[in-house]
Amino acid sequence: MPDISTVLSGIKLDNPIIPASGAFGFGQEFARLYDINVLGSFSFKGTTLERRFGNPTPRIAECREGMINSVGLANPGIEAVISEELPELKKIFHKPVIANISGFSIDEYKYCCEKVDKEDQVGIIEVNISCPNVHAGGMAFGTSPDAAAEVTAAVKSVTHKPVYMKLSPNVTDITAIAKACASAGADGISLINTLLGMRIDIKRGKPVVANKMGGFSGPAIFPVAVRMVYQVYEAVKLPIIGIGGISTAEDVIEMMMAGASAVEIGAANLTDPYVCPKIIEALPGLCEKLKIEKLTDIIGKAHN
């Protein structure tokens, strides 16, 4: 039986499959459908200081092999996440969870990280500096190396947990941002967040989503994600969580060969709620077929 476990900053995962932030809520919806303890881990919904409704609706648009969302970080706010969501999650999920944090100022990022730092359930803090759906902050921190470094250093100063910076693909040189995060002390890199995209309803002659633009994700963006993971793997010596368009076990292998130690799966959970357990089940067979004994052996294989 091939070994499909992997490691992120000393945390052992039974497998590399992690539902991505924003596609899995706080786990409850999926816990009704399957035992979510089969997952490697999961990244919970992007959490901010204040409770947020998010952007006006409609905020979903379909694309060929993908979708646009302009949800805009709708979440219950850090206090409610800690006092309500995490205790409920503890009852159903018995592995370290990834806390996805967003902010509109450096102080806000710091405050939220300080809070989740005290939660035993949280294994890794994933800092989203790449949300394309909010006007202030969000992606602004992820498109300048200096700002990305500043957020990284600030959150590192308030937590001992591993910090993974989640990068935006909406930049000219992803390696510059990754290097800035690395030198500011990041423990790992998560990439990619959504690509800024847009659809126009040709009957109305108006953008489909109320916020006009939104984050494009799904299978259509997979090649972009593979390319960026490949580039970042060469640029920094940090573990990478590969994200973007993954929907099959083959995609997982490809992403790991590009340099990812684990992967996150977003949009695919929305169209097939059972996609993660299906991939976890398919992985050992696929490894056998490809003569992979240990999944961690293939991390970055495409670089040799």
């Binding site: 924003g22 596609a23 899995f24 809520g25 919806e29 999926f30 009704r32 459908l33 399957y34 035992d35 919904k45 409770r51 409704f53 998010g54 609706t57 409609p58 905020r59 979903i60 648009a61 379909e62 694309c63 060929r64 092999e65 993908g66 979708m67 969302n69 949800v71 709708a74 979440n75 489909v208 799904g218 299978p219 949009a267 959970n269 929305l270 169209t271 097939d272 709620p273 059972y274």
Partner: protein
């Protein structure tokens, strides 16, 4: 653990009004518990699923009615008996039938009509005196008014009185659903599904008639998943932010700000 995903087999797929199709499917319907719930359909060739209300269901059989409005529903309209469709079953809360009282008013506008049919069937079976008001643009758009009338033939003591309004007057009363309300003597509770302007007009008209008749409204919103994971379809209510797909699509009208 719940198996939300069902492969249903199409029994029939026929046009019943201008651009409106009725599809009957066989397969497991155990997860459906309430009229007003919906299914989320994987149409081959399209990335996101299509949410469609359950019109009627029984063990092993499901009926939906959909309007051809874009590429996904166009592809559905071309499917044939024997073809299979993957769908997520029994989504959303559905209508609460316990609140209906003896004289429920049911209002459906256009393709807001299908879930109203399942509801009428359930309420008549409970012996309620149901009034149904349906609104359409024109005669060619009207569907299901005889199906509602047929509910009158029952042994439960329930009844179903049907009123139809068309905007151009080519069928039934000329005008909107609100033009039919004066004919209805008693209303203990109301249920409505249709476009927002219809819901607004209905609430205003009912308010004129008698303050505070309790009611339930079914909403539509573009959805990513349909089962509460992506928070794509939020709505602001008097009791906080809610998800249309999971906390709805039916909300108490007293809870809604429209």
């Amino acid at each position: 653990m719940i198996q939300l995903e069902e492969i249903m087999t199409i029994l029939s797929n026929e046009k019943i009004a201008a651009d409106v199709y009725k599809m009957e499917l066989s397969g497991n319907t155990e997860l459906v518990s309430m009229p007003g719930q919906f299914v989320n359909i994987k149409v081959p060739g399209f990335y996101l699923r299509r949410p469609i209300s359950i019109c009627d269901y029984e063990p092993g059989k499901l009926t939906i009615i959909y309007k051809l409005v874009g590429n996904g529903t166009d592809a559905m309209s071309k499917m044939q008996a024997g073809d299979e469709l993957n769908m997520l079953m029994g989504l959303g809360n559905g209508f609460n039938t316990e609140l209906s009282g003896e004289y429920p008013l049911l209002v459906g506008g256009g393709v807001g009509t299908p879930p109203i049919y399942g509801l009428a069937k359930r309420l008549v079976a409970q012996g309620k005196k149901v009034s149904v008001v349906l609104g359409f643009a024109s005669k060619q758009d009207v569907f299901y008014q005889e199906k509602f009338s047929e509910l009158n033939e029952n042994t439960t003591g329930g009844s179903c009185k049907v009123y139809v309004a068309t905007v151009d007057g080519s069928f039934g009363t000329k005008g909107f659903v609100t033009n039919c309300l004066d004919e209805i003597e008693e209303i203990s509770h109301y249920y409505a599904c249709g476009p927002i302007p219809m819901l607004k007009a209905l609430i205003a008209k009912l308010d004129e008639r008698q303050k505070d008749i309790p009611g339930q409204l079914s909403f539509e919103e573009r959805m990513g998943c349909g089962f509460g994971a992506c928070v794509g379809c939020s709505i602001d209510t008097k009791s906080g932010y809610k998800k249309v797909c999971k906390d709805g699509p039916v909300f108490m009208s007293s809870d809604i700000v429209i």
